[in-house]
């Protein structure tokens, strides 16, 4: 598409600009739609596990519930508390939302279907997700209210703690695949197990990392059972307590976009991304994007399942899990994986 635009009257630079802009919209708009539908799915799954009906009034089967909620939020009045730090109060949700969107630039949806095929793709994701902390801290601080501030401190400490072990988990995947490029990591999984199964997750050396990544992803996105940042009984509603209207909606959208991203990362890093599960020609008839979204949705179901069944952790237990269990294990695992590769792949 970029070449097509560059070949028209627009010329090289402007053609590239317009094509990239269109591709960004091509990712961002479906993502917003996906967030609306995934919130609906989340509520439906949660309700089904609690033997309730869930949203079922707006539209057939309640399918339009999220859009109704969005419209309601859109029509509300934006309230900025008088004691708040006005500029930062407005900027904070924009940061969260933007960061949740920019990460998608390096996600490969299919073979070659990626906006920016950069060779430090995984580092880019780490960098962008480390920016996400600011939206949360600034919201807590700028609100000038004690519960949002408590929640923001909890959230920031939690995200920073789990980013450490996520970093080491990613390093062991990178060691195995030998590249930071996202498409390269997916392609490296082709025929990983006995030349048949396309997934790092079934590799006995990487399977523990896959499990730890799933749990760390829950903590990183502050999903249940690690949703201490919005523990209702303690903190009203978390760092976004003072927010209303669209600024609240931006947090809402950003959080769920991050959840979808983490589900997608699970699929890409450990379960073959856009590759079919088995190396078998008929399975390649299905386009890669369907395999990717199928895996992504499976992991989202697992996230909802966990939310519906596992009680919330206590904060010191969360920190203990991150620093005293995940960090040593993942650190040891980097050592183990690199040692194994040194003995087998790079011994010559």
């Amino acid at each position: 598409m970029t070449e097509f635009f560059q070949s028209t009257f627009l010329g090289y630079g402007f053609g590239w600009f317009l094509a990239t802009l269109l591709l960004i919209l091509f990712i961002a708009l479906p993502l917003m739609l996906a967030v609306a539908m995934i919130i609906y799915a989340d509520r439906k799954i949660w309700a089904a596990m609690a033997l309730r009906r869930g949203p079922n009034v707006v539209g057939p089967l309640g399918l339009l519930q999220s859009f109704a909620d969005g419209l309601k939020v859109f029509l509300q009045e934006t309230i900025v508390p008088s004691a708040a730090n006005r500029g930062l109060f407005v900027i904070a949700p924009i940061i969260t939302f933007t960061v949740a969107l920019i990460v998608w630039a390096v996600i490969p949806f299919g073979a070659g279907m990626v906006l920016a095929d950069i060779n430090v793709g995984l580092l880019y994701i780490l960098a962008a997700s480390s920016l996400g902390v600011y939206g949360v801290i600034l919201a807590g601080w700028a609100s000038n209210s004690k519960y949002p501030f408590y929640s923001a401190i909890r959230a920031a400490a939690q995200m920073v703690s789990y980013e450490v072990s996520i970093g080491f988990i990613l390093i062991s995947v990178v060691l195995w695949s030998g590249t930071f490029n996202m498409s390269g990591i997916v392609e490296g999984q082709r025929g990983q197990i006995f030349g048949v199964i396309n997934a790092y997750g079934f590799n006995p050396l990487l399977f523990p990392m896959a499990v730890m990544f799933l749990i760390s992803a829950l903590a990183e996105t502050a999903r249940a059972p690690f949703d201490l940042t919005e523990a209702e009984s303690e903190l009203v509603a978390g760092y976004q307590t003072e927010y209303s209207s669209m600024s609240f909606a931006l947090y809402w959208l950003g959080e769920y976009a991050n959840v979808i991203l983490m589900c997608g990362l699970n699929a890409i890093l450990f379960w073959g991304g856009y590759l079919p599960p088995f190396e078998w020609a008929p399975l390649y008839m299905v386009p890669g994007i369907f395999w990717f979204f199928g895996k992504l949705l499976f992991f989202f179901f697992v996230f909802s399942w966990i939310k519906a069944t596992v009680p919330r952790y206590r904060y010191d237990q969360l920190m203990r899990l991150g620093w005293k269990i995940f960090l040593p294990i993942s650190l040891f695992w980097v050592f183990l994986v690199s040692g194994y590769l040194m003995l087998t792949r790079y011994s010559a």
Binding site: L123, L126, L131
Partner: protein, 203 residues
């Protein structure tokens, strides 16, 4: 053209946010301007083709160092008037540091441009088809291995030092012993007894 535009955008933002870092009245705003400066410096790194350094700059400085910095500044109860009172006292000293820095930069740039051929070649020390993350790794783990490991040891010592300085054993606390809790079985905790009425309960 686009690259030149991007360069001037990033450079102007670095300088502007650097200025605002030292002039902002609120220390939290200062830290935030500093973060913006870091972020745009990463953009400049991208333009010279050092994408690995750019990502590290964002991950390490923006994602870790500045977050801690912001935490500390937010928690502190800073007296702004007292901070500004010391300005005149340190202004001369600061000016001296600024002069030293500027002259060093001029000397370095001059030596670079007037240098011999070998120095000029260092602008592109890696083969073009090699991602610079591989080039950096290749150098760090072979030629500079001992220096790299020495840097790691320095960090380890610093970490241990920080833990030793802040750690204190408190008496009278009852920490949770998770392995003991997991090891507990129902028969250790629950008794089923058929208690005859009127005889009281043994506790």
């Amino acid at each position: 053209m686009i690259q030149a535009l991007a360069f001037y955008l990033f450079a102007a933002l670095v300088i502007g946010s650097g200025l605002l870092t030292i002039t902002a009245r609120n220390p939290v705003h200062s830290v935030l301007w500093l973060i913006l400066a870091f972020f745009n410096a990463a953009g400049l790194m991208l333009l010279v083709g050092a994408e690995f350094i750019a990502m590290l700059l964002v991950i390490v400085y923006v994602g870790a160092v500045a977050v801690l910095f912001l935490f500390v500044v937010m928690m502190l109860d800073i007296d702004f008037a007292e901070l500004r009172a010391g300005f005149a006292r340190y202004a001369l000293f600061g000016l001296a540091i600024a002069i030293v820095l500027v002259s060093e930069m001029i000397i370095a740039a001059g030596a670079w441009s007037a240098g011999s051929l070998e120095l000029a070649q260092r602008i592109a020390p890696t083969p073009n088809d090699m991602p610079n993350i591989q080039a950096v790794g290749g150098l760090l783990y072979t030629r500079y291995l001992y220096l790299f490991e020495a840097a790691g040891f320095v960090l380890l010592v610093a970490m241990i030092g920080a833990i030793v300085l802040t750690h204190r054993a408190r008496s009278g606390v009852r920490p949770q012993n998770i392995s003991e809790q997991v090891k507990r079985r129902p028969q250790d905790a629950v008794r089923n007894i058929n208690q005859p009425s009127g005889q009281g309960v043994e506790l």
